[in-house]
């Protein structure tokens, strides 16, 4: 394989000051702005009325008993299980006991569930709007410039992405235009935000999308609109019933004696 001659392009050093630094600065500042906008727009969780809260907490109580049964002694666990199962099956904790057995209401018609969706929409908007704005800003002002050379080679497929707006057929795909610097910033600035804003910031758009994917389904599953609490209770009662109880204190004497070395 013959070594291709290295392409050199003489560029105005002013490109650095007028394209590279402005884009980087704008990206960083947008991240900071997005962080504070997300904090300001976050609505405090709505106060639930007593019945709803009781319904949710009693279900969580059942889950806690089920997952930590090994710390309870046998009689204590059995007493809890009996009380919870009886209450679940009789529907004592239900918010509206008279609605048992009916189909759950349509989630779209319930005003309280719209709040949650609005919150998600706001989060999405805070992410989409700045990105669209910045991309169109870069396209409008900086398209067609070659500003930098990547330090690693790429295949020819990347050419259309990295050199959008630069119609030069034979140029090495390592040369990148301003829009590809934008993409590098988009993915790589997370560590910068870590130093600026602390590690649990919500500045980087790419990270926020990942978080939303994780958090969303889980929350919606638990207490989301459209789930039937009665069915959840019955399932939880069944889960409690099948537990084979043992305690961490079983055979503790033997473990202690093994630990003692003469």
């Amino acid at each position: 394989m013959t070594q291709l001659p290295v392409q050199t392009i003489h560029r105005d050093p002013q490109l650095l000051y007028w394209i590279l630094f402005p884009i980087t600065l704008v990206m960083i500042l947008t991240g900071v702005l997005r962080h504070y906008a997300t904090i300001l727009m976050a609505t405090a969780p709505k106060k639930l009325d007593q019945k709803t809260l009781r319904e949710q907490r009693s279900l969580l109580h059942g889950i806690a008993v089920r997952s930590n049964f090994h710390t309870l002694s046998k009689p204590s666990f059995v007493a809890r299980r009996e009380a919870l199962t009886a209450a679940y099956e009789s529907g004592a904790y239900l918010k509206a006991p008279e609605n048992r057995g009916q189909a759950p209401p349509n989630p779209m018609s319930d005003p309280s569930s719209m709040e949650g969706m609005m919150g998600m929409m706001k989060g999405q908007m805070a992410m989409i709007i700045p990105n669209t704005l910045i991309m169109s800003w870069i396209n409008a002002f900086f398209s067609g410039y070659v500003i930098m050379k990547l330090p690693f080679p790429l295949t020819i497929k990347f050419k259309s992405m990295l050199q959008a707006g630069v119609a030069t057929r034979d140029m090495d795909p390592r040369w990148m235009s301003s829009i590809s610097w934008y993409f590098l910033c988009y993915f790589g600035l997370q560590s910068v935000f870590n130093f600026l804003l602390g590690s649990d910031n919500c500045a980087a758009a790419s990270q926020m999308a990942a978080q939303m994917g994780q958090m969303g389904p889980q929350q919606a599953q638990m207490f989301g609109p459209g789930t039937d609490p009665d069915k959840q209770f019955l399932a939880e009662a069944e889960n409690l019933a099948v537990i084979e109880h043992y305690s961490v204190l079983d055979e503790v004497e033997q473990r202690l004696l093994e630990g003692i070395k003469v």
Binding site: L16, L20, T24, H70, T71, I147, M148, K149, L150, P151, F152, P153, W181, L184, C185, F187, G188, L189, Q190, S191, V192, N194, F195, S199, V248, R255, G259
Partner: protein, 125 residues
């Protein structure tokens, strides 16, 4: 690997593990950016740049292990918590050993490429 029962006998607090992972992640993203600066100034290209990153990330992990994890987890006086702990065992502070040794490579890569490109562009190209 610990069984479920062992975990119940000597439980790990999820919040503490989260804190540990987060401080490790912060360290790794910070050092990844700094390695990018170094690689850009040195003018490393293609494979040598990625090898530089890999080597120094692993070096960071080793140093982190040697300075912060090993003294308390490998010493015999630490008792049975975390099941003793042989060499290169991180189960006392982190959930999985594999995550400790390789997790930083991917999470810091984007930051590394960013600063590498930036400084390579400023200094060399």
């Amino acid at each position: 690997m610990l069984s479920e029962r062992d975990l119940q006998l000597s439980p790990l607090v999820p919040e503490s593990i989260q804190h540990n992972s987060r401080s490790l992640y912060n360290l790794q993203s910070l050092t990844a950016s700094l390695f990018g600066v170094a690689a850009g100034i040195l003018g490393l290209e293609s494979y040598s740049g990625f090898l530089f990153y890999l080597a120094f990330t692993l070096l960071t992990s080793v140093l982190f292990y040697a300075v912060r994890v090993a003294p308390s987890s490998a010493s015999p006086s630490s008792g049975k918590a975390g099941s003793g702990g042989g060499l290169l065992d991180t189960s006392r502070y982190f959930r999985t050993t594999l995550e400790f040794w390789t997790g930083g490579v991917l999470s810091g890569l984007a930051g590394y490429i960013l600063t590498w490109t930036l400084f390579f562009g400023i200094v060399r190209a």
